[in-house]
């Protein structure tokens, strides 16, 4: 899990972050294996956005692609951060949940399919509120069921980041890959400021926000498994390297985290830097 790119690689690097969702999915899958499901021509759009005067998009901001990863059958669900902030509505959520459910069906039939989630999302699409939340619960359910049969990989590359109910989805995956441009948090800064006041969090203080929820901090405190450069091939290689024998999922390490919390004084919480020392990964190559 090297984080430093050799100098010569910098010259040939191809940004992953700059790619739209469809090209991100293509970059993760083996060359020429990309096959999109429910593409734009299927015209499965949000039935709810036009009712609110918002133009729907023909893929609802999620690309589902079958293909191969390292020669093995795979499915990639890539969220398009540029459409409605990558928000999860009824259709986009059902695409992700449905793809995971079919991967689970195939795994149960003895035909493993590797699922990869490319997450760029603010969480529930508020224009479809309860149907987005319901879809996210179904996504969580599918990840938990699937994870015991095959590694479920999530990538948060940036620049939208991964928030709301989908931050739980990221945390449920077997392996979570982030870049320095990623942010991963449950509540968006604006919402925290609204709910708890500006003294709790100033949503315009970007340096503070990155120090709390940025990819580097998440990796350094063991809340992400790999920190990679913004390079399409480096990210694809990291995904390919996730094979069998993934450690016990973080979300199952209940006693470890309760013990860690017991040592936290909420009146005097650690600064982000200090938490890196407190929660440092014991093994530099893993959790």
């Amino acid at each position: 899990m090297s984080t430093a790119a050799p100098h010569e690689r910098l010259l040939t690097r191809h940004s992953f972050i700059e790619l739209p969702a469809r090209e991100r999915a293509r970059a993760i899958l083996d060359a020429d294996s990309f096959r999109e499901l429910l593409g734009p021509f299927d015209r499965l759009k949000s039935p709810w956005l036009p009712l609110q005067g918002i133009v729907a998009q023909s893929d609802d901001g999620v690309v589902i692609a079958r293909g191969r990863i390292g020669g093995r059958p795979a499915v990639v669900a890539a969220i398009e951060g540029a459409f409605q902030g990558g928000s999860i509505g009824e259709v986009s959520g059902a695409k992700v949940a449905g793809a995971l459910e079919l991967a689970l069906r195939d795994c149960e039939r003895g035909h493993p399919v590797l699922p990869v989630l490319l997450l760029e999302t603010g969480g529930v699409r508020l224009q479809e509120a309860n149907l987005g939340l319901a879809a996210i619960a179904e996504i969580h359910s599918a990840i938990v069921a699937l994870r015991r049969r095959v590694p479920v990989v999530a990538v948060v590359a940036g620049m939208v980041g991964c928030f709301g109910g989908m931050s739980l989805a990221a945390a449920l995956c077997s392996t979570l890959i982030v870049t320095r441009q990623a942010r991963l948090g449950m509540n968006g800064p604006e919402v925290i400021e609204q709910e708890a006041g500006i003294t709790e969090l100033d949503s315009t203080d970007h340096a503070l926000i990155w120090s709390l929820v940025g990819g580097e901090q998440r990796y350094a405190t063991g809340l992400a498994d790999a920190l990679v450069d913004d390079d399409a091939e480096a990210i694809a290689a990291q995904v390919r390297s996730v094979v069998e024998g993934v450690a016990a999922p973080r979300s199952e390490q209940v006693e470890c985290y309760l013990e860690r919390l017991a040592h936290i004084d909420p009146a005097n919480p650690p600064e982000p830097r200090a938490l890196r020392a407190l929660w440092a990964r014991e093994d530099p190559d893993g959790r």
Partner: protein, 276 residues
């Protein structure tokens, strides 16, 4: 543990009404109440998250689901599964009245997303292990707190009360994020079913197993409690007889109408899944 006068809220009232304060179990902060109580022919495990104005985490003092609450839910659920290993998987009832996840800077730093994921994971894992889980909505079922406490249940029941609310975000925060006045949001909710906050609108989405009408949700009497216990027992039987996944949420007449797109997406995905 026993009755604790410093705790409050609808979730606590219903938890105490349904369990009679018997069989309270220890194992974490007092905000996560757990008790075994008879329900029909069996003993069910009841779990509620309640408000504690003295919570050591200040952002979780008004019934929010905080870091310790979420991780403790995970602990209690995993204990339940472990205790029943090799025996009949006990029914689990999640009594839901949670206003939100805790919003705070220390919560983000310390991974409130992972804590809530751990609770959702533990519920889903218990369900997959064969525990019939019923969520009973008696107050607020909001956002990430509902994802962590209740939304992974096999069956969801709700009291028909104006105080029972389901949504992805509080009205004030949703107004700010969507840059609309609160009144405009409320009007939209009347027109666009998934945007409404009230439980009757939620029932139209087809996600509920049942809406329990005619019960005094704020101050339940003996008949109300008995009625809800019967509904819970029936939902548990139904869950035991059904699948261990959440597919039942797409089969009701209401779901076939309001979640038609969710069903269509799955049908077309299945058709296109294998290469032609």
């Amino acid at each position: 543990m026993g009755a604790d006068p410093s705790l409050s809220g609808r979730g606590l009232r219903w938890f105490e009404a349904l369990t009679g304060l018997e069989g309270l179990l220890d194992g974490g902060p007092r905000t996560v109440r757990v008790a075994d109580s008879r329900l029909g022919e069996e003993i069910a495990r009841f779990i509620a998250v309640v408000a504690d104005p003295a919570n050591r985490f200040p952002r979780a003092r008004q019934g929010e689901l905080g870091l310790e609450e979420a991780w403790t839910l995970a602990r209690q659920l995993r204990r339940t599964v472990a205790e029943d290993l090799g025996a009949r998987a006990r029914a689990i009832v999640a009594v839901v009245d949670v206003s939100s996840q805790a919003y705070g800077r220390r919560e983000e730093l310390l991974g409130i997303h992972l804590a809530c994921a751990a609770a959702a994971d533990a519920y889903a894992s218990a369900r997959l292990a064969g525990h019939p889980i019923v969520a009973l909505l008696v107050g607020k079922a909001m956002s990430g707190a509902f994802l962590a406490h209740g939304y992974q249940a096999n069956r969801i029941l709700a009291l028909d009360s104006t105080e029972v609310l389901v949504h992805a975000m509080s009205k004030q925060a949703a107004a700010r994020v969507t840059r609309r006045p609160v009144e405009a949001l409320e009007q939209l909710g009347e027109r666009i079913v998934p945007m409404a906050y009230g439980v009757r609108a939620f029932a139209r989405l087809g996600l509920l197993h049942g809406l329990i009408e005619g019960v005094n949700a704020a101050a339940p009497g003996a008949d109300d409690i008995e009625r809800v216990r019967r509904e819970l027992a029936a939902a548990i039987d139904d869950a035991r007889a059904g699948a261990r996944d959440l597919a039942a949420r797409l089969t009701s007449p209401a779901a076939r109408e309001t979640r038609a797109a969710s069903i269509a997406v799955r049908r077309r995905l299945t058709e296109q899944w294998d290469a032609p």
